[in-house]
Subunit: 378 residues, 2 copies
């Protein structure tokens, strides 16, 4: 059986911890560093599955909280899991649902056993336990599962954070045990990552990482960043974490980020990313281009019949102009969201591909500098 | 230069006036009978241009009223016309805008010279004249243009209808003269159709058709049907019109209709159709299938993991289940509108293809019977 993760190359450029790796699931081989488009409810919003293949998306995310609510696990199970339900042939990663319980649900109450909450849809009461979130992800059939953790708000005081990482560790340990004592559901392997927490307190991150390292998770995530702290602080904590996280396992920075964040974090040794930004911004007419982010609704694009991005080739940039895209957004046409989403996801995936090539060709630092110079000087 | 329209074959089946033809514009060759998807604002809602090519859409519609409002003719002209603006390589037909002036605009006032109206968007005042609507369509660059007519409501009394067709004829004559005295804008040929009116009064339809026949329009449309009259009455008036409309020119039944309407009207000698129904219904979760129209939001599809249409092969039916589509609609996902729109347009275009094949193989009557038997017995 294929090893889940292999590091293929470590950058030797000065001050650069970037690395190349490969994740092998039973659904796809994924070159890292990788960006994973978010497909909350079993769809990467406004993009067709065949378009994701076309853009070489080897892995996408599903959100356990959302899928648990709709379509619900009865339908998910009768469909034979999310791969079949949405007809997705490549890999899937699901979060545990914990993040949404804390951010979306109107009411939530942490108990020793898990977290009680009300649905954001109809107010109905539910409970997620470490065991239940793994069981739910077993039913979803994701290739990579995440354990239940508490995602703290920012800022949070040290004693609260300390208590929280202790609770999170207990939960993750129970997730790990349930994982080891339960089986893959649909004949393909399912892997489990850990999530370290500790807010921006390095001593807590260290404790969290070390405690989790004692269990044999398949990969390790950094949780609880990109929740309001300054960018520089996020990079600093990330840098600190990757120094002590396992070298042999993939490192996943959850919920990050902007193109700049991706570059900064790859440089600090992160292998995996996910973020709603490319698709969410797209639906608001904010398009990522080589020359920076563009608000396509701006009057200055009214008569601009030129290409939106000469360097980043997507179906959108190769076929449609600033003026046409602007028109679609001004007129409220669905096609605007479709074309902007395709371009933004294409932009992110292509950026990651360029990053991987640059690492391989020992010119990551130079690539980063050139990219940022164009991206920041619109 | 290619002749615009050729009748290739006339059915000899009993009681069947169906025919096969070919329309040649400088952008595409279009086999008739044809259904033209509606792309009101320069987009067939929720469908990408490449998807229309994939489904063999040789011609789509644009709506002059809507395009005149947004993006407006200044942008349209600077783009080099609608083909370039929306990057559409096949043919375009535009209506005159008259229909929307009467149906959408809050205020409209018919004058001898044309029609004055307020924009449905911002209340601003505008005037469409026979000359201005042709000029506008010259700027849009549509392959087939339509003249200004008055579309009467239903029912309408005889004297009102009589006055209206007289006005419509004067307008169409002026359109024709302006057309003959103006030039193609972008190097490709632009054609002009007539529109006969007369509500459901056969004597008025006759007068309208005969008056218009004296001018040499490139094709002839039946306007003012499918506005509330009974289906049978619509078929009867259509049948009457096609008996006296030119044999040598394409016959276009505007704004029609359901799959059943298409079959009934092809049988009565109609060559061209357009209707918002497949795309509009799609966005409301109403999906056309071989076994009838389906309201995909229905609870009965919750756990139906089967194919939505075994016989009509589209990207949607070949890849996604009832349950997945239902989930997308219940969750309000854009992908639901995309996949339903692809299927409905695919269904209409495939129906027309099957109709053409059946006419050719001298089994239209049999095909119609079989189709209706499946379609009406869900």
């Amino acid at each position: 059986m294929d090893k889940f993760f292999n590091v293929l190359y470590k950058s030797e450029e000065k001050g650069c911890k970037a690395r190349l790796g490969i994740i092998k699931t039973d659904h796809s081989e994924i070159e890292t560093p990788v960006f994973m488009p978010v497909g909350t409810l079993g769809t990467v919003k406004a993009i067709e599955q065949r378009e994701l293949y076309e853009m070489d998306a080897g892995i996408i995310l599903g959100n356990t909280y959302h899928l648990y609510m709709r379509p619900g696990m009865e339908i998910m199970q009768s469909a034979g899991g999310l791969h079949k339900f949405m007809n997705w042939k490549n890999s899937l990663l699901t979060d545990s649902g914990g993040f949404q319980v804390f951010s979306l649900s109107k009411m939530n109450k942490i108990k020793e056993d898990g977290v009680e909450f009300s649905s954001h849809l109809d107010g109905s009461k539910h409970m997620f336990t470490p065991e239940s979130v793994i069981e739910t992800q077993r039913i979803i059939g994701s290739d990579i599962m995440m354990p239940l953790d508490e995602c703290m708000p920012y800022p949070v005081d040290l004693s609260r954070a300390e208590k929280s990482i202790a609770q999170t560790f207990k939960w993750e340990k129970r997730c790990f045990e349930y994982y080891k004592n339960s089986s893959d559901r649909y004949g393909h392997r399912q892997f489990l990552f850990s999530i370290n927490q500790g807010s921006t307190y390095k001593e807590l991150r260290k404790r969290s990482i070390e405690e989790l390292a004692a269990l044999d998770f398949d990969g390790n995530a950094i949780g609880g960043l990109a929740v309001g702290e300054e960018n520089e602080l996020m990079y600093e904590v990330t840098d600190y974490c990757t120094d002590i996280m396992s070298e042999e396992k993939p490192r996943y920075l959850m919920g990050v980020g902007t193109p700049v964040d991706l570059l900064e974090s790859v440089e600090r040794g992160v292998d995996m990313f996910d973020c709603v930004m490319p698709t969410r911004n797209a639906r608001h007419g904010r398009i990522f281009t080589t020359n920076g982010e563009v608000n396509i609704k701006g009057a200055k694009y009214k008569n601009n019949h030129g290409c939106i991005d000469e360097e980043c080739k997507t179906y959108t940039s190769e076929n449609f102009s600033f003026a046409y895209l602007r028109h679609l957004f001004i007129a409220g046409e669905i096609l605007g969201s479709q074309l902007a989403s395709i371009h933004n996801i294409g932009f992110y995936l292509q950026l990651m591909k360029n990053i991987r090539t640059a690492i391989k060709e020992k010119r990551f630092t130079e690539f980063k500098k050139e990219f940022l110079s164009k991206y920041n000087n619109k």
